[in-house]
C-alpha cells in the first residue's frame, strides 16, 4: 500500500514538474527569440545584400523593392513583433535562399542531425559509464590508468581533428568505412542493407562527436562512484551480504549517475553545436550544415528557426533529465 502511495505521489510530482517546466519554457523561448533576433540583425550585412551580389542585381530601385518585399524596410522592433506573431502560429517564415518555408528546409535536415545527436549521446553514455565503472572498481590499477589516459586524450583532441584522423585511418588507409555522407549515393539496395549502410556512415561521425563526451562522463562517473562507495548505505549493503556486482550496479552506480545526468542535460545544446563541425567534416547532411550556410549567407529566418527548434530540443532534454533525476533518486523533488 505504501509503495502504491509513493508511486502515485511520484507521478503527481512528475506531472507538477512537467507543468512548471513547460510554463518556464515560455519566457525562455521568448528570450531566446528576442536575443537571437537582435544579435543576428546586429551583424553587418544582410541576406539581401548577399542575394543581390549573387544575382548581380544592378538596379538600386530593384534592391529597394526587394528590401520592402522581404520586410527589411520595417523597423527592427516591428520585424521582431511580426516574427513572434508568426511563430505563435507555428510559422517559421520563408527561406528565400532555399525558396521554401523555413520549417521545410529544417525538417529536410533535422532527421540526420537527430540521428547523429542520439547516437553520439548513446555512445558517450555507454562508453563513458562503462569506462567510469571500470576505472572506479579497478581504481589505481592499469585499467584505471588506461581509462584516465584515454579520457584525457579524447577530451583534449578537437573533434574535427579526431574526425579527420579517423577518416584517414578507417576510410582512406584501411577502407573499412565510408569517407562521408549519410548513405551510399545511388542506394545500398533498400531494407536491411540500407540500414546497415547508414550505420556504416554513422559510425565515424558518432565516434568523433561522442568520444569527447564519453571522456567527460568517464571522469565524472569515476570520481562520483568513488565518493558514493564510501557512504554508509553502501557499507550497509555490503554488510547485508550483497554481491560486489549488485552493490556496484544497483547502489553505487545508480546514485553516482546523478552528476552524469546533470551534465547530460546541460550538454544537449553543446552536442547540437558540436554537430555543426562534425557534419562539416563528414559531409553529414544535417541541420549543422544548414546552420553554417545560413549564418554565412545571413539567412535570418533559417538561423532563427534552427535556434528556436534547438532551444526546444534542449528544453525537452532538460525536462527529461529532471524526470530521470527523480526516477534515480526518489528523495529528490525538483522545484
Amino acid at each position: 500500500m505504501a509503495g502504491v502511495i509513493a508511486s502515485s505521489s511520484r507521478r503527481v510530482a512528475a506531472l507538477r514538474l512537467l507543468r512548471r517546466r513547460l510554463f518556464q519554457a515560455v519566457p525562455l523561448m521568448l528570450g531566446v527569440v528576442v536575443i537571437n533576433f537582435i544579435l543576428i540583425h546586429l551583424a553587418p550585412g544582410s541576406f539581401l545584400e548577399l542575394m543581390t551580389a549573387e544575382n548581380q542585381v544592378s538596379d538600386p530601385a530593384t534592391v529597394e523593392l526587394l528590401r520592402k518585399a522581404y520586410g527589411l524596410a520595417d523597423p527592427i522592433w516591428l520585424q521582431l513583433l511580426k516574427y513572434i506573431w508568426a511563430l505563435l502560429h507555428f510559422d517559421f517564415g520563408f527561406s528565400y535562399r532555399q525558396n521554401m518555408p523555413v520549417i521545410e528546409a529544417i525538417t529536410i535536415n533535422l532527421p540526420a542531425t537527430l540521428l547523429l545527436m542520439i547516437s553520439s549521446i548513446a555512445l558517450a553514455l555507454a562508453v563513458g559509464v562503462a569506462a567510469g565503472v571500470v576505472a572506479s572498481v579497478k581504481v589505481r590499477t592499469f585499467w584505471d590508468t588506461l581509462v584516465s589516459v584515454a579520457a584525457m586524450f579524447f577530451f583534449a583532441a578537437p573533434s574535427f581533428w579526431l574526425g579527420i584522423m579517423m577518416i584517414v585511418l578507417f576510410a582512406v588507409k584501411l577502407g573499412w568505412l565510408p569517407v562521408g555522407g549519410m548513405m551510399t549515393i545511388g542506394g545500398a539496395g533498400g531494407g536491411v542493407a540500407s540500414v546497415l549502410d547508414i550505420l556504416a556512415h554513422l559510425l565515424l561521425p558518432t565516434l568523433a562527436l561522442g568520444l569527447f563526451y564519453a571522456a567527460i562522463y568517464a571522469r565524472v562517473l569515476r570520481s562520483s562512484m568513488l565518493e558514493v562507495s564510501q557512504l554508509d548505505f553502501v557499507r550497509t549493503a555490503r554488510a547485508k551480504g550483497l554481491s560486489r556486482n549488485k552493490v556496484t550496479l544497483s547502489h553505487v552506480l545508480r546514485n553516482a549517475l546523478l552528476p552524469v545526468v546533470t551534465i547530460l542535460g546541460v550538454q544537449m545544446g553543446t552536442v547540437l553545436a558540436g554537430s555543426v563541425v562534425i557534419e562539416s567534416v563528414f559531409s553529414w547532411p544535417g541541420v549543422g550544415s544548414l546552420l553554417f550556410d545560413s549564418v554565412s549567407s545571413r539567412n535570418y529566418p533559417v538561423v532563427l528557426g534552427i535556434m528556436v527548434l534547438g532551444t526546444l530540443v534542449v528544453i525537452c532534454a532538460n525536462i527529461a533529465v529532471d524526470l530521470v533525476y527523480m526516477w534515480l533518486d526518489p528523495r529528490i523533488e525538483i522545484r
Binding site: 545584400e49 549573387e54 549515393i185 554565412s296
Partner: protein, 534 residues
C-alpha cells in the same frame, strides 16, 4: 599522351617547390568507354538552387551547366562554335545579329526547342537577370522563320562581344513553356530543371548531392558516354582530399583540395592536377583604393600601394605557387586583349616611398606617414593572409595599417554599400570580353552604391568613360584591341583597382577521367564528352 604539358605558365614558386606533381591527362585515351557513374565535386559548398537565373555564383553555375546549354561555346583554341545555335552573323551595321537555331533539339520533357524559347530566354532571362549589365543596348528579338532569331541592338555591337554573350555565364536557353507566366527567380523548376543538355536532373539530396542521368535524346549523337553523373558536396577540403583518395570522387574543379594535398594526391600517381579549363574565368585577388579618401584621391599614393607589396611573395607563400603577380585589369591569359606594355607596378619599396613623398606624405618624426583601414574580404581565407603581407609591406614604407577581415556579407556591405574602407583586398573573375565585366570597375556607370562587384573605388574620369563607350561599339577587331590596350595603360597608371595576383585555379582528377578540362570555362561547361577509363 599520358602527361601532356600544360600550356599555361605555372608560377615559378610552384616549380621551385615541386608542387605541381603531374600535369593533366585531359585528352581521350583510346576508344571511349560507355556507361558508368562519374562523381564530381568543386571547391565550394552546395548551391542555393540547382539553377539561378542570374547566375548566383559558381556553385549554381556548376550544377546548372550540366543540364542547360548556351547558344554557343568557345573552344580551347579560342574559336566560337555553335551549340544550340548552328551559326550567327551580324548585319552590316552590327546593330542586329541573325542566329540560326539548331534543329532537332528537345528539352528533357520531350518538347522541341524553338525560336520562341530562344527569344523568351533572351528577353526574360538574359536581359533581366543573366546578362543584364551586358545587354543595356538590347532592343528586342524577332523570328522571321522557324530557324532564325534576329537580335537587335540600339548601338553597334562588336562581334566578339556578341559571341561572348552567346557563350557566357548562365546565358542558357530555358524552356518557355516552363517559365512563361512565372517569376523565373522563384520558379520551382529551378530546383529540378528541364533543359536541353546532355544530363537530365534526377534528384537533389540536400546537403549531399545532385544526381543526373544520361539524356538519351541528346542532340549530339552518341553523347554523353556515361550513364550517370553525381555532383557531390563535401564542405571541408580535407574531407574532399580523403574522398579522392578513397575513390569516392573522380574529379573536382576550382581548387577542390588544399595546395599541399595536390602534391600528395598527384604523387600517388592516381591523380592529375591541371590549371587548364579556366581561361575564360580567370580569378584574381585585387587591391581596390577608395578614392573618396583624399589621400587615395592622389594617383601617386595609389601607385605606391602596389609598389610597396611583394606580390611574388603572395604568389609563393599564400597560393603555394598557384598564382602570379597581376599586371593589368585584363588578365594575362586573355589572348585577345592582354598587353604587358602598361605602367609597371613591380615591388619597389624605395619607389613607393618616393611616390608618397611626392604626393605630400613624407615620414613624420615618428616614422609614420598616415593610417589606412585595410579590409580583406573574408569570402576567401587567402585574403586575410594576404592582408597580413600587405600590412607588413605598407608598414615598411611608413603607413600604419588597421587590418580587418570581415565575413562575406559584412565584406560586401562594407565595400560596396558603405564604402567603409581605404584599401580593400577583394576578388574578381573576368572572361575574355572586357565589357562590362572588367570595365565596370573603372567607369562612372559602374559606381552603384549597394550593388556588389562594381566600381567601389569611386574612381572615374571622362577619359576612361569615353574610352569604354568606344570599346563598346567599335566593331573593327584591330581598332577595338587598340582601344582596350589604351584602357589598360590608363587603368594601370591610375591604379585605383588592380590585380595583386592572378590565381591559377586547379582541377584535380583521377587518371581514369578522360576528356576533362577541355573547355576554357570548364566548371561551367556541359561535360558531354567526359568518360571514365577502366
Amino acid at each position: 599522351m599520358a602527361n601532356t604539358v600544360s600550356r599555361r605558365v605555372f608560377g615559378a614558386g610552384a616549380l621551385a617547390t615541386g608542387l605541381i606533381g603531374k600535369t593533366a591527362s585531359s585528352f581521350a585515351q583510346g576508344e571511349p568507354k560507355r556507361g558508368g557513374t562519374l562523381v564530381a565535386t568543386w571547391g565550394g559548398g552546395e548551391p542555393q538552387a540547382c539553377y539561378v537565373p542570374a547566375g548566383g555564383g559558381s556553385s549554381p553555375t556548376f550544377s546548372s551547366s550540366k543540364l542547360f546549354e548556351r547558344l554557343g561555346r568557345r573552344s580551347m583554341e579560342g574559336a566560337f562554335e555553335g551549340e544550340l545555335a548552328e551559326a550567327w552573323k551580324p548585319a552590316a551595321d552590327f546593330k542586329a545579329y541573325a542566329i540560326k537555331i539548331r534543329k532537332g533539339v528537345k528539352f528533357h520533357d520531350g518538347k522541341d526547342m524553338t525560336v520562341d524559347d530562344v527569344i523568351y530566354s533572351i528577353d526574360e532571362i538574359w536581359k533581366k537577370y543573366a546578362a543584364a549589365a551586358a545587354m543595356t543596348d538590347y532592343v528586342g528579338g524577332e523570328s522571321p522563320d522557324s530557324d532564325t532569331v534576329i537580335v537587335k541592338f540600339s548601338k553597334p555591337v562588336p562581334e566578339f562581344f556578341f559571341s561572348s554573350l552567346l557563350c557566357g555565364g548562365v546565358n542558357y536557353i530555358v524552356p518557355k513553356h516552363v517559365y512563361a507566366g512565372s517569376d523565373p527567380v522563384t520558379n520551382a523548376a529551378n530546383n529540378a530543371p528541364i533543359a536541353t543538355g546532355p544530363w537530365k536532373f534526377k534528384e537533389w539530396v540536400r546537403g549531399s548531392h545532385f544526381e543526373y542521368v544520361k539524356n538519351d535524346a541528346y542532340w549530339r549523337p552518341g553523347f554523353p558516354y556515361m550513364d550517370r553523373m553525381i555532383i557531390r558536396y563535401v564542405r571541408d577540403p580535407a574531407g574532399r582530399a580523403a574522398a579522392f583518395e578513397a575513390g569516392d570522387i573522380h574529379i573536382g574543379v576550382f581548387n577542390p583540395v588544399a595546395p599541399p594535398d595536390i602534391k600528395r594526391l598527384t604523387g600517388t600517381g592516381k591523380f592529375v592536377a591541371t590549371p587548364k579549363g579556366y581561361e575564360e574565368s580567370v580569378w584574381s585577388t585585387s587591391f581596390e583604393c577608395n578614392t573618396r579618401n583624399p589621400i587615395f584621391a592622389k594617383r601617386e599614393v595609389r601607385q605606391a600601394m602596389f609598389h610597396a607589396v611583394d606580390r611574388s611573395l603572395i604568389a609563393r607563400t599564400i597560393y603555394y605557387g598557384y598564382a602570379r603577380p597581376g599586371t593589368s585589369p585584363i588578365f594575362s591569359p586573355n589572348k585577345e586583349f592582354y598587353t604587358a606594355d602598361t605602367y609597371k607596378t613591380e615591388f619597389d619599396p624605395k619607389k613607393a616611398a618616393a611616390l608618397l613623398d611626392t604626393a605630400g606624405y613624407p615620414k613624420k618624426p615618428d616614422g609614420k606617414r598616415f593610417t589606412v583601414n585595410l579590409l580583406a574580404a573574408g569570402w576567401f581565407t587567402e585574403n586575410g593572409k594576404i592582408g597580413a603581407i600587405v600590412k607588413q609591406g605598407l608598414e615598411d614604407v611608413g603607413i600604419v595599417v588597421n587590418l580587418t577581415v570581415p565575413d562575406r556579407p559584412s565584406s560586401i556591405k562594407r565595400i560596396y554599400t558603405d564604402y567603409d574602407f581605404d584599401l580593400a583586398i577583394s576578388n574578381q573573375a573576368n572572361p575574355s570580353e572586357p565589357v562590362p565585366a572588367t570595365t565596370q570597375y573603372y567607369t562612372s556607370d559602374g559606381i552603384k552604391k549597394g550593388v556588389p562587384f562594381r566600381n567601389a573605388s569611386g574612381f572615374h574620369t571622362d577619359e576612361v568613360d569615353v574610352l569604354v563607350e568606344k570599346i563598346k561599339v567599335e566593331t573593327d577587331a584591330t581598332k577595338r584591341k587598340t582601344l582596350v590596350v589604351e584602357f589598360q595603360k590608363i587603368t594601370t597608371r591610375e591604379a585605383s583597382n588592380l590585380p595583386l595576383v592572378e590565381i591559377e585555379s586547379i582541377t584535380v582528377a583521377s587518371i581514369k577521367v578522360q576528356n576533362h578540362s577541355n573547355d576554357p570555362n570548364y566548371l561551367a561547361s556541359t561535360w558531354y564528352d567526359i568518360w571514365l577509363a577502366s
